[in-house]
């Protein structure tokens, strides 16, 4: 009997030892304690913001650690409470910022640097959050099938002449929800419902893919116009695989009612716990500074939030536009109503 069990034991022992070694080595490797660091919970893909963090590290010697996820970050902050190691939360739209604020996991920041750089309309109540960049929700229209001036407002998307000619991503995506929330804020729920239903009936295909995938569909002739964030235009032109998609479309800045083009923000907030508070504020100020704002503009094709920072030349080429200057907190407050409309219309089906 012992002879029979020996192979099992030695196999087990060896494997456990091997596993133990790997783990021990790895824990030592990951727990190297750095005196100067700042921890960021991010709704943005790290590869988009890493160049900025590297510049910050080079300037200050403070290491930036990130955790990227699309759900659950606010819950994590709330549950970890005052002991949370997180210092900052980064988001790609206004409703996430307001969600963190409403959950009570953020704290106000007093900083002359931030106040000088970031206009009041792009800050949360009592400076609980700060915008970093803005992006417009634009219309991408096929160069060869849509006349310039043929579409000038989001409301026009409901026109039956676009029957079978529109592509969008899922109506439940935060960018679509943001636009619909703004429409509810300006035109009311009933108008927005009818608008959404009409847009739905104009769709060329079931909502699918991301904003770039819609431009691609336009370039392939599946549809003639699509909705998308403004920075994708530059990013597609930079990508050799996607350049042709962007070359097939014109970028139009539609107005919402009599206001202007819907604009959303990417932004940041200081967490309530913020163990590395000073470093975190330094990072915030760095990101609102000229160098970082210009990196955002040049690398990501976002609109800098700080006045006086030059736009990427590509964006200058697209021209100035009037932005809807609605209070963004109002937009965030309508997110729930917007999602309900999307559900009621069955937009994604």
């Amino acid at each position: 009997m012992t002879a029979d069990t020996r192979p099992l034991n030695s196999w087990l022992v060896k494997s456990v030892l091997a596993a133990g070694l790997i783990i021990a080595g790895n824990i030592v490797a990951t727990s190297s304690i750095l005196a100067q660091e700042v921890n960021v919970l991010s709704h943005r893909q790290p590869f988009l913001i890493e160049p900025l963090f590297e510049a910050f590290e080079a300037e200050t010697g403070i290491k930036v650690n990130t955790v990227f996820a699309e759900v659950g970050l606010v819950e994590r902050l709330a549950r970890e409470g005052r002991n949370s190691p997180a210092d900052l939360i980064f988001t790609v739209d206004i409703s996430r910022l307001e969600e963190a604020f409403r959950a009570g996991v953020t704290q106000p920041v007093t900083s002359p640097v931030l106040e000088a750089a970031i206009p009041v309309q792009f800050r949360g109540l009592n400076n609980h959050w700060w915008g970093l960049t803005t992006r417009a929700r634009v219309i991408y229209a096929a160069k060869d099938r849509v006349e310039p001036g043929e579409i000038t407002s989001y409301e026009d998307l409901a026109d039956p002449k676009w029957q079978g000619r529109i592509c969008t991503r899922s109506g439940s995506h935060v960018y679509q929800i943001g636009l619909l929330s703004a429409m509810i804020a300006h035109r009311g729920e009933e108008f927005s419902r009818q608008w959404l239903a009409a847009v739905k009936s104009n769709l060329a295909r079931r909502p699918q893919g991301n904003d770039r995938a819609q431009v691609r569909a336009v370039s392939e002739g599946v549809c003639d116009i699509s909705l998308g964030n403004s920075y994708y235009y530059g990013q597609m032109l930079d990508d050799p695989d996607q350049r042709d998609w962007a070359l097939a479309v014109n970028v139009l800045f539609p107005s919402l009612g009599d206001t202007g083009t819907h604009v959303n923000v990417s932004g940041m907030a200081l967490t309530l716990s913020a163990p590395n508070r000073d470093n975190a504020i330094r990072l915030m100020e760095f990101l609102a500074g000229d160098q970082a704002q210009q990196l955002y503009a040049e690398d990501n094709y976002e609109y800098p939030i700080k006045a006086g920072v030059p736009w990427a030349s590509l964006l200058t080429g697209l021209g100035e536009f009037t932005a809807d200057d609605i209070d963004l907190a109002l937009v965030a407050a309508n997110a729930d109503a917007a999602q309900r409309l999307v559900n009621e219309i069955g937009y994604d089906e």
Partner: protein, 569 residues
């Protein structure tokens, strides 16, 4: 004294089960405290469609994986045809390929701008998408194909293990009594391997329910997608937990129905299985058809996606040196290997605990079985929701301890468990325990109770019996269980995203940051590594399964050695 030992053992089993079940209990608690009641709105709007889509997806995946998994398992185990020995292990390869990667790769390959449609346009002179019809890859059909192509491996593995352990005598008896191969299969073999088939299909269905990546990519509005819109856009984590629990209940209901349907029927095999399986010799065209049937899922589920990814990865080889690629590999391995060992250990403890109680019906027995069932349902809950379930008890514990320490000693202990590798490993164990438990439980189920009786009447304690009788016998299945958890761990994404320490990346999270931006090329190298990391374990897995066929031979050999060595010594 004996009574006390039994009590302590039972307590240990129940306590283990409850610790593992903690996240599920936490999800139940979140569901019980929602911010508002979302159901009236959901029922009026998207819910019926989401339930229907989820049902259709589960049905399609269940049928698809059963056909491919059982069919190929039957062919490689019971038939002889060209390439069979390679197919035996190669059929497990797609297991290492995450379904969302398959979805991604095939969309890239088959959509309008992909090489297939490009070629068709060039061939027929079509100008745009309006000139011809091509099946929509981002559809329910696409999801069936993408998911079945990787998930069938669970069914294949379970069925193959069960077929290998078949007593040849049963088949011989059936044939002798005049039944042909097909009738023997449907009336004798199929009922015998049904528990294994069911375990495989249930794993498939659970995986279908917790998958978000694939359905999101294919834009199919399922309940899982509903969970995320309610959570993200309606800010209602409670509502999200409620939908998750409804899905979970559906799976538990299915399991219950199946168990009820075969209640009272035992599936214990006779001990005589030394004879090699005979195998139907398939010659000529039939042999080649069998080979093609086995090659197809390997080709479409592994080789072709690997090839497409590989072409992209070649353009990104410099990433190996420039990024923290090897660190990601080490992180993925750390989590998956640890989770594999712990999950198998816990699965063994729980499955054996249940086995000790099969003959009793009292409150303790019910509690043991109930707690165990609860501990192994985490697989059916979307990973992000389960992560919330891990977050809650861990953070509560950490903060309570911290508060006490601050009160008494004036020092802060901070977060000891939350946001650590330990929390991640725990989450993996909870998520994948069902996989380990399924194989361990079925393996233990095939060990005849006469073994226990013999060992116990010879004076061995239950623990001794487990270590020296059961564990050597089900060694192959234990290893299989560990490998399954490992491979699943390498692919794990949603819980890792939420629970990981700062600056901690695994291969899967690295893939995801690019995949979520639909940047296939940047994701390709890490995705390929995930797939490659599964190759070796999968070969080991196949050998572990095959080993179930030969323990008696090994045993005979070892006896033979001892016999020959004795005179010399």
């Amino acid at each position: 004294m004996i009574k006390l030992g039994a009590l302590a053992r039972t307590f240990a089993v129940i306590a283990t089960a409850l610790i593992v079940a903690m996240p599920v209990l936490a999800v139940i608690w979140v569901a019980a405290t929602p911010t508002e009641n979302i159901w009236p709105h959901l029922i009026e709007t998207v819910l019926p469609r989401q339930i229907m889509n989820t049902g259709i997806l589960m049905l399609g995946n269940g049928i698809g994986t059963s056909l491919i998994g059982l069919g190929t398992a039957w062919l490689v185990t019971m038939c002889r045809f060209p390439g069979r020995r390679i197919f035996e292990w190669a059929l497990l390869l797609p297991m290492a390929m995450p379904a969302y990667v398959i979805a991604f790769v095939y969309t890239d390959f088959l959509e309008y701008a992909g090489p297939v449609q490009h070629g068709l346009r060039a061939l027929f002179g079509w100008q745009s998408a309006r000139d011809y019809w091509f099946p929509e890859i981002r559809s329910m059909g696409g999801a069936w194909i993408a998911m079945s192509l990787v998930l069938y491996t669970y069914v294949y593995m379970m069925c193959r293990a069960a077929l290998l352990e078949q007593s040849v005598n049963v088949m011989e008896a059936s044939r002798m009594l005049g039944r042909g191969p097909w009738r023997s299969f449907s009336t004798v073999v199929l009922p015998l391997i049904r528990p294994a088939l069911v375990v495989g299909v249930i794993l498939v269905l659970m995986e279908t329910l917790n998958d978000f990546g694939t359905v999101d990519f294919f834009a199919i509005n399922t309940l899982t997608k509903g969970v995320f819109t309610v959570w993200l856009n309606m800010g209602n984590a409670g509502g999200a937990a409620q939908i998750s629990l409804v899905m979970l209940t559906a799976v538990v209901g299915l399991i219950w129905l199946e168990r009820r349907a075969r209640r009272g029927r035992g599936y214990i095999q006779g001990a005589t299985r030394a004879k090699p399986l005979p195998g139907y010799l398939l010659t000529g065209a039939r042999g080649w058809m069998a080979a093609i049937a086995c090659a197809a899922p390997i080709f479409f589920g592994f080789i072709m996606p690997t090839f497409i990814l590989g072409r992209y990865a070649l353009t990104r080889l410099s990433d190996i040196s420039s990024s923290d690629y090897f660190l990601y590999v080490a992180n993925s391995l750390t989590l998956s290997v640890s989770a594999a060992f712990i999950a198998v250990f816990i699965a063994l403890v729980l499955a054996y605990g249940v086995r000790l109680h099969t003959k009793t019906t009292g409150f303790v027995a019910r509690l043991t079985v109930g707690a165990t069932r609860l501990a192994s349902v985490g697989y059916a809950i979307p990973g992000a929701v389960l992560a919330l379930g891990v977050l809650i008890p861990f953070a509560a514990f950490d903060n309570a301890l911290d508060a006490k320490m601050r009160d008494i000693f004036g020092i802060s202990t901070g977060l000891i468990l939350s946001g650590t590798i330990f929390a991640l490993i725990f989450a993996y164990v909870v998520r994948f325990l069902a996989v380990a438990f399924g194989s361990v439980e079925t393996a233990l189920g095939r060990v005849s109770p006469t073994m226990d009786m013999a060992a116990r009447s010879l004076g061995a304690s239950p623990l001794r019996t487990l270590f020296f009788v059961h564990m050597p016998m089900i060694r192959g299945s234990l290893m299989a269980a560990g490998i399954l958890v490992f491979v699943d761990g390498m692919k794990e994404l949603p819980a890792t995203l939420i629970l990981r320490p700062f600056g901690f990346e695994t291969l899967a999270t690295h893939v995801y940051q690019f995949a979520s931006a639909e940047q296939l090329a940047d994701a390709s190298l890490a995705a390929l590594t995930i797939a490659a990391s599964g190759v070796l374990p999968v070969i080991l897995l196949s050998r572990a399964i095959s080993a179930t066929r030969s323990p008696s031979r090994k045993f005979a050999n070892s006896i033979g050695r001892r016999v020959t060595l004795t005179p010399a010594g």
